[in-house]
């Protein structure tokens, strides 16, 4: 993965010093709360319901074992001994003291980490496919471009006070795992006659007005990515609405202007910049690409080893985990291993300091010292030799990190919700836990096949409820918490927004409601049909009837 040189390190160190000064001035009263707010947000610091929350950047989900250990240390030293993986691949800690945040940032800087632009009305952490570089079907490794764009967007002088936040996701695979159509800008990198080109999608996003992104520019030469993005964001900065924060995202502007008119304005700006020093140089690409070259793989033949086959045959628990949580690797003899942070006793995406330390150690032992965070709030060890997979599984079990639930109903996406977040209308974690508890029979869960269930505690949609096969949204009605259910949403290439089932439900009914929805699926599915395929065939009405008929 990318390593800082002295330039990168100076930039992060300067930022720590700057934020220390800003925080001291705020605490002494020299800087007003209103002035301090956007400055602290651009350093990932929120003031939450109970305490501040600090969001630490994990650029495009890549994190080293050294960095993970530093995060574990930080949760012990400054927080309550656990961290949370967000849906944009970042790491959040929920209980730091504001006065100590500059020290946390200084500790992070020592391991080439920061919290720059993880919040605020600026360009946020750029996300990508969690399997970049190791999965089949990839046209190229998107991470060098992610890193080049990370550097470009970091402390960009023109784009620190945008109308609203700005999220970019990049994919280079026919299977889109980065939700590029649900981002302000989604970039799909492709190879075209040995040249890298980018399709640029604009105006996707969830939140109050969920919209799927539209193609703005096809086959942009990749060396023009910076100049083109500058043009897009300049048009947004100049024309995006600033009178109403719920209408301030680029999706509202692109819809209001029309994508063609928006694109014409972008092209006019782009003409100023296209042939400039913003063009990404081949030498820079080479320099950055070198950090993402394949690790020192051992050579295996591609046959599944006999001893592994025996383990799978003889050990049902291991076999389940192997099937659900590991994936084919591009390199013969290796597996991609998913670690589900979806245990029964924790909030989705939460991980304790002991588990963080354990994973760091396992990454060193089994996966070249690198890990990835995922948009599904899990962690990936991307390069595990098949002959060590069983050993890894045993170690994961010791640390309660072997839940064999990837891709199942248990693998929910869930925002922190009303337990932590001051924006939330309702709690989301207890709903996730109630559903997990209700469906604790894993054989039934496996029989249900792949189901994406996403929960958000408010319409800001951090839990991506719009694009879950089953989406749950917490709403507030006269001070009571209710939950609205939608069906049929999906992410990826065929991204679409779920349809609302009907009136909302109380928290206590939610497990029953999900049970009824799943009953309809189980009783009407054809052969190997998945939940979403059955939904597409029969539509929402049978689900509606089952859920509402019996509840009265």
């Amino acid at each position: 993965m990318y390593q800082y040189d002295h330039y990168d390190q100076s930039i992060v160190d300067q930022r720590v010093a700057q934020f220390r000064d800003q925080t001291a001035r705020f605490l002494s009263g020299d800087l007003s709360a209103d002035e301090y707010q956007p400055l602290r947000l651009q350093n990932g610091l929120y003031i939450q319901r109970h305490a501040p929350m600090l969001r630490i950047a994990v650029p495009y989900g890549m994190i080293s074992s050294t960095q993970l250990r530093a995060v574990a240390d930080i949760t012990r030293k400054y927080d309550r001994g656990y961290a949370h993986i967000s849906t944009r691949q970042n790491i959040q800690i929920n209980w730091p003291e504001l006065e100590r945040v500059p020290d946390i940032l200084a500790d992070l800087a020592k391991v080439q980490m920061h919290a720059i632009q993880t919040s605020g009305n600026c360009i946020r952490n750029i996300t990508t496919d969690q399997f970049a570089g190791v999965i089949d079907g990839e046209q190229l490794d998107p991470r060098p471009y992610c890193e080049i764009l990370r550097q470009w967007s970091t402390l960009h002088p023109e784009f620190a006070f945008l109308p609203r936040k700005f999220k970019i996701a990049i994919s280079a695979n026919a299977t889109d795992r980065a939700a590029i159509l649900a981002h302000d800008v989604g970039i799909e990198l492709k190879l075209s006659q040995n040249n890298v080109v980018a399709d640029i999608y604009v105006g996707g996003g969830l939140g109050r007005t969920p919209i799927i992104g539209t193609l703005l520019k096809a086959s942009l030469p990749a060396e023009d990515l910076i100049s083109y993005l500058e043009a897009v964001i300049r048009v947004y900065n100049q024309f995006g609405r600033r009178d109403n924060k719920y209408k301030a995202r680029i999706k509202i502007l692109a819809k209001a202007m029309g994508v063609d008119a928006f694109g014409a304005k972008v092209d006019a700006q782009w003409a100023l910049k296209k042939q400039s020093e913003l063009q990404i140089t081949e030498s820079e690409l080479e320099r950055v690409r070198a950090y993402f070259s394949a690790p020192d793989y051992q050579v295996f033949d591609s046959e599944l080893r006999a001893d592994l086959q025996t383990r799978i045959r003889d050990n049902r628990l291991f076999a389940r985990w192997y099937e659900k949580n590991t994936l084919a690797h591009r390199q013969p003899g290796y597996r991609i291993v998913n670690i589900a942070l979806k245990g029964a006793s924790i909030a989705p995406g939460d991980i304790t300091h002991l588990q963080l330390d354990a994973l760091a150690q396992l990454a060193d032992r089994f996966s070249f010292g690198e890990l990835r965070t995922t948009h599904q709030q899990n962690i990936v060890l991307a390069d595990v030799a098949q002959n060590q997979v069983y050993e890894l599984w045993q170690a994961l079990q010791v640390h309660e990190l072997a839940a064999p639930v990837i891709g199942t109903l248990h693998d929910m996406i869930c925002c922190p919700g009303g337990d932590f977040c001051s924006l939330a209308n309702a709690k989301s974690i207890p709903i996730a836990q109630a559903i997990q508890a209700r469906f604790d029979d894993l054989d039934y869960v496996y029989d249900l096949g792949p189901i994406e269930l996403n929960i958000s505690g408010c319409m800001n949609a951090c839990g991506h409820h719009h694009i879950g096969h089953i989406g749950i949204l917490g709403v507030d009605k006269k001070g009571r918490e209710f939950y609205q259910v939608a069906l049929g949403g999906r992410q990826g290439r065929e991204a679409s927004i779920g349809k609302i089932l009907g009136p909302s439900f109380g928290a206590e009914d939610m497990a029953d409601v999900i049970a009824k929805i799943l009953d309809v699926y189980v009783s009407t599915r054809h052969d190997e049909e998945t939940f979403i395929q059955t939904y597409d065939r029969i539509g929402i009405d049978p689900f509606k009837e089952a859920v509402y008929a019996t509840s009265h």
């Binding site: 330039y7 930039i11 470009w152 970091t154 023109e158 100049q238």
Partner: protein, 155 residues
């Protein structure tokens, strides 16, 4: 290779002033954009507020000596784009930031091409001067240094 901005300046080039309400109450020294467009004899100064369409001045930038860009609130970042676009289009006169921008924006403002700042607070103007004299490492090209870091990195 086209340089987006080419106004590399010694740090003492910057001009700092403090807002004086008695002057402002008197009358606007610098005409607003609409008055400037309507004027038969074009003044050499004008003011742009956020959201104003400044396309009509783009072919006359060489005749202007001072453009004031207003910040009605410090979180309204349109002025950053306006400044940078004017520099990219070849404007070499003074770019004056006025209004509610804050001290903590001074680096970004200067990097976008502002070279004159009217502060609300005299002590902030002093601190700003010190800050702009410090050399900081940055990734992007800017008004002082047109090359982005990836074209400057010593390999």
């Amino acid at each position: 290779m086209q340089h987006l901005t080419s106004t590399a300046q010694p740090t003492d080039f910057y001009r700092f002033s403090v807002f004086d309400p008695s002057v402002a109450a008197n009358q606007a020294v610098t005409p607003n954009l609409l008055d400037w467009i309507a004027a038969d004899i074009k003044p050499t100064r004008l003011t742009i507020a956020p959201g104003e369409d400044f396309s009509e001045i783009l072919d006359q930038l060489h005749k202007l000596q001072l453009i004031e860009i207003q910040f009605p609130t410090f979180t309204d970042g349109r002025g950053f784009s306006t400044a940078r676009e004017l520099r990219e289009r070849g404007y070499t006169g003074t770019l004056l930031a006025t209004g509610s921008f804050i001290l903590d924006q001074i680096e970004y403002l200067s990097r976008c091409g502002f070279d004159a700042f009217e502060f609300q607070n005299a002590s902030h103007a002093k601190v700003a001067q010190v800050r702009l004299a410090q050399q900081k490492e940055v990734y992007q090209g800017d008004a002082r240094q047109p090359l982005p870091l990836f074209r400057r990195r010593a390999n």
